[in-house]
């Protein structure tokens, strides 16, 4: 006997993700999902973004890690509200974990919540976590074949940050190939060559972030009508 089911797998994740979006909509908070390999420079980029935007926005951070709290301590030392999310071995963050952790923040006193996802180019791409947009980081030493090898990560992102761009002379990394591969699967993606070390390219990234954050929280910044 055949039974028709037609039931979305991971439907619960999508449902929770949607409810987070509705909540942050009402609180005028933008959530940014930051993804990339271990060592791509997610934490360093977050620090650069904090220092570039903290005068204009009230920023909070969720630090996703499989274990430990080194990254959270680094953010905490900047005086930014940070909550550590330990996944106990899981390779990605799910919407449910974000929903559970949100009450640790005073959302009325926040404009932007940066979420550092688990260092991994595969699994995190599959799970929406209630974010308003995604930023994926690929660093030069990782190689220029990564976009072609991990298409979902780069097909679903809004911005592709090519980090450690100051290392370009030392690696056989073809930025044109990466750009072509990325635009093949994601024609509207914004690409930013940056170095969080010497701050090059960071102003352009900040400019794009402001535009996208404001889209979500504009009503709050203009005050009640």
């Amino acid at each position: 006997m055949e039974i028709k089911v037609v039931k979305q797998i991971l439907a619960w994740n999508e449902d929770v993700s949607e409810s987070i979006r509705r909540l942050t909509e009402s609180k005028h908070v933008a959530i940014i999902n930051i993804m990339g390999s271990p060592g791509a420079g997610k934490t360093s980029l977050i620090k650069a973004v904090i220092s570039g935007l903290r005068e204009e926005y009230r920023i909070g951070v969720i630090e996703g890690d499989i274990a430990g709290q080194i990254d959270a301590e680094a953010i905490d030392s900047l005086g930014i509200p940070v909550v550590q999310l330990q996944t106990d071995g899981a390779c990605h963050i799910e919407a449910m974990s974000i929903e559970k952790i949100l009450p640790s923040f005073d959302l009325d006193a926040l404009d932007v919540l940066l979420v550092e996802n688990i260092g991994n180019l595969v699994c995190p791409a599959e799970f929406n976590i209630g974010e308003d947009f995604r930023v994926s980081i690929l660093s030069i030493p990782e190689g220029d074949d990564k976009v072609a090898k991990y298409p979902l990560m780069f097909a679903t992102t809004d911005a592709l940050v090519l980090n450690k761009y100051d290392m370009l002379p030392y690696f056989d990394f073809d930025p044109v190939r990466v750009e072509n591969d990325a635009r093949d699967i994601n024609p509207r993606v914004e690409i930013f060559p940056v170095s969080s070390k010497d701050n090059s390219g960071i102003p352009e990234l900040l400019c794009w972030l402001r535009k996208n954050i404001d889209k979500k929280i504009k009503t709050k910044r203009e005050g009640p009508v």
Binding site: M1, E2, I3, K4, V5, V6, K7, Q8, I9, L10, A11, W12, A90, C91, H92, E94, V122, C123, A125, E126, F127, P151, L152, M153, A155, D184, I185, N186, P187, R188
Partner: protein, 113 residues
């Protein structure tokens, strides 16, 4: 590793539906997976053997139908499949499209007894 979460999701979709229909055993679970979904069906089969042990789904076959990427293009009005690896409107080359299929991931139907 997230294939494990997905495999559990398959069980959560399939087992209650089979039980509601009074089935004793699930023989086959038919999945529809979009081409843009990053899930690898071969891993799921592997996990499924473990997760389904001792349930009415134990021993069930998983079969997968892939759903091609489809777009709707506001520039020229094209609505349909993309065959090329490049995600563009095949009619006008436009990039302002909306993806209308290819990200699906669902249990379509079951064969039970």
């Amino acid at each position: 590793m997230h294939e494990l979460a997905i495999t559990e999701g398959i069980m959560e979709a399939a087992v209650p539906a089979a039980q509601a229909a009074g089935a004793k055993k699930i023989l086959e679970i038919r999945l529809k997976i979009g081409e843009l979904s990053g899930v690898l069906p071969e891993y799921i089969q592997e996990y499924f053997g473990i997760v389904s042990k001792g349930t009415i789904a134990e021993g069930a076959k998983l079969s997968v139908t892939r759903i091609p990427v489809g777009i709707s293009c506001p520039d020229c009005g094209y609505k349909g499949e993309i065959k090329d690896k490049k995600i563009r409107c095949p009619e006008c080359g436009g990039t302002d499209f909306k993806i209308i299929s290819g990200r699906e991931y669902y249990v379509d139907s079951l064969e039970v007894e």
